[in-house]
């Protein structure tokens, strides 16, 4: 096994406001990791550094090579990112947006070829978004839009998929569908998945490894059972919860105590 992502002593500050402190973590190729933590704990910043949008202090290695030695085109074939917010200022159809994921595979002067169309169609099929491929992105609901963005990420044929709260705008059914899709891609294609997540119960059900951040530091890193304890949740989120094991999945699940 090789480390797909490795950071050592990674720190980052926006101007004088520190966001990440000395993050050292290693994600093996083929792992599926959920990153948890309250708002402002540094999840999004961490993902941005890993996708080379921001540059932190310290070492970041992808497939054993430092991130700085990659060109952006090369990176976009290794990595795909699903962002938290989707901005569309111009009328593009869903299919056009998904095809943008193929940009680093063909020349800047060429139109998309047969292979590109096939990959795009397969990605839309996987995310259940083929039925509205000809509709404009700004006409779609939040959930539909999110599925299109995941399809675009898959069209990049990445080795590593980074997601920033992929289920934020989705209803329960589509949340579960997205997580099932991620798990399938992870198991069948060996895709490495790193996702920032808010829903702790869903995270426990689908992600074999969880990392919880507090104030820009790794507070716990391990299996759901190790990470999601009543004490950790109280320390990190400042609320009292009851954690019990779900008898079917044998994963820990949280129950919120409204008394506090």
């Amino acid at each position: 096994m090789t480390a797909a992502i490795q950071t050592r002593d990674l720190s980052f500050a926006y101007k004088d406001r520190p966001v990440l402190h000395a993050i050292s973590l290693s994600v093996e190729s083929g792992e599926m990791v959920g990153v948890l933590g309250p708002n402002g704990s540094g999840k999004t910043t961490l993902l941005k550094i890993l996708s080379a949008v921001l540059r932190g202090q310290g070492e970041v290695k992808l497939n054993e090579k430092t991130i700085g030695s990659y060109g952006r085109r090369e990176l976009s074939r290794l990595f795909a990112v699903v962002q938290q917010e989707v901005r569309v200022n111009f009328p593009y159809t869903a299919a056009e947006v998904v095809l943008m994921g193929r940009a680093s595979y063909h020349s800047a002067f060429a139109l998309e070829g047969k292979k590109d169309l096939e990959v795009a169609r397969a990605s839309m099929d996987l995310t259940d978004s083929l039925s509205f491929s000809n509709r404009y992105l700004h006409e779609l609901s939040g959930g539909e839009k999110q599925r299109v963005m995941i399809a675009r990420a898959l069209a990049q044929e990445p080795k590593i998929l980074l997601l920033d709260e992929p289920s934020a705008f989705l209803d329960l059914k589509h949340q579960v569908q997205v997580f099932e899709l991620l798990r399938r891609l992870n198991r069948e294609r060996g895709l490495t998945v790193v996702a920032a997540l808010h829903d702790l119960n869903l995270a426990a059900l689908f992600f074999p490894r969880l990392i919880i951040l507090r104030d820009g530091k790794i507070y716990r890193d391990g299996s759901p059972k190790e990470v999601l304890t009543e004490k950790t949740i109280e320390d990190v989120y400042g609320i009292r919860v009851r954690v019990e094991q779900d008898p079917v999945s044998e994963k820990p699940q949280l129950f919120i105590c409204p008394c506090v």
């Binding site: 990595f79 569309v88 111009f90 009328p91 159809t93 056009e96 994921g101 940009a103 839309m124 000809n134």
Partner: protein, 345 residues
């Protein structure tokens, strides 16, 4: 799955190219003196008044209009994409203003500085386009810088600072206009209102060279422009070197705007109107949108200028009046529609 294919590229550009060719010939035939096509092409080398009017008086002007209309539309397309703002255009961003100021400073202070072409054999070219280019580039960078906070571009600030910058520049221009002598002032004013009157094929060729160079440069960035409309971060993650893209687009479009403004003054609203109309018709893929907008912009200005010189013939309206007359209401309509559709501005 409907996406851009070669068939659509050829079809759209082909149709527009034919329309453009028809417009060029048609517009050159129209005017206070009616010309007959067969007459104009008969005995081109013998003394022939129809051919004289067609080739000497009207054709250069029509060709200049095509270059400038196309160039303005292409610049509008790329600025809108780059700044993530459907309402961006050279005028709104203060770029034409900056180019005008540069050009005016050139006209006032270096009127006699001429650059000889081929050792003076082919005539001389004025420095004004270069001054206008510098003005355009500087103002574009300035407005951009004033809308950038923590590395993020704020579209709201961008529009506001562009508009304010434009009025500021206008004040400087008016001031300059009132301190120069009367004849110079009148020349400046006419230039500012926008006009395509020219007789010189050399000027036309010169502007075409600038415009085509800039256009091809921008067209080569078509795919990256598609990606950057999803936002800077998304574009980076899809493989675009966004910083380099921004710099190249700024330089290429400033070059075009500078050259265009230096001969024709401020001809507004084409850069706003044409890209929008084309997006509605053919979609937003910049690999097609750019050439199609270029051709459509050429067609539009061709006819607007014909209107400008025939409406009150033999008197002549500045063509900027015609484009603004159609462009102003169109802009308001867009603003209203965007507001209702709630696209992020």
């Amino acid at each position: 799955m409907k996406v851009l294919d070669r068939r659509k590229m050829i079809l759209v550009n082909g149709v527009l190219l034919v329309l453009l060719a028809l417009s060029v010939v048609g517009c050159a035939l129209l005017g206070p003196i009616r010309l007959d096509l067969s007459q104009a092409f008969q005995n081109i080398f013998a003394p022939n008044p129809d051919a004289e009017i067609f080739f000497r008086a009207r054709l250069p002007r029509v060709l200049l209009g095509v270059a400038i209309g196309g160039g303005m539309a292409a610049c509008g397309v790329v600025l809108q994409a780059l700044l993530g703002n459907p309402l961006a255009c050279p005028q709104m961003l203060g770029v034409s203003g900056g180019a005008s100021l540069g050009g005016i400073l050139g006209l006032i202070f270096l009127p006699n500085w001429l650059l000889p072409i081929a050792g003076g054999l082919l005539g001389e070219i004025s420095w004004v386009p270069l001054a206008a280019f510098l003005g355009a580039l500087l103002s574009m960078m300035l407005v951009y810088r004033f809308s950038l906070f923590h590395g993020r571009l704020h579209p709201y600030h961008l529009l506001l600072s562009g508009v304010i910058f434009n009025s500021f520049i206008a004040a400087i221009i008016m001031f300059l206009n009132s301190i120069v002598d009367f004849y110079q002032a009148q020349g400046l004013l006419f230039w500012l209102m926008g006009s395509l009157s020219t007789r010189a094929y050399l000027t036309v060729a010169f502007i075409w060279a600038y415009v085509i160079f800039g256009f091809l440069w921008l067209w080569a960035k078509g795919l990256s422009l598609n990606l950057i409309t999803l936002g800077e971060e998304a574009a980076m993650q899809l493989g675009v070197e966004t910083g380099a893209l921004q710099r190249q687009v700024f330089v290429a479009s400033s070059l075009m705007i500078g050259a265009m403004v230096s001969v024709s003054g401020m001809i507004g609203f084409i850069g706003l109107m044409v890209p929008h109309a084309m997006r509605l018709i053919i979609g937003s893929d910049h690999r097609l949108l750019l050439p199609a907008s270029f051709l459509a912009g050429g067609i539009f200005l061709c006819w607007a200028d014909t209107l400008a010189r025939t409406l009150l013939a033999p008197a002549e309206l500045p063509v900027g009046i015609i484009t603004a007359f159609f462009g102003g209401p169109f802009f308001l309509f867009l603003l209203y529609r965007e507001g209702r559709r709630k696209l992020t501005l």
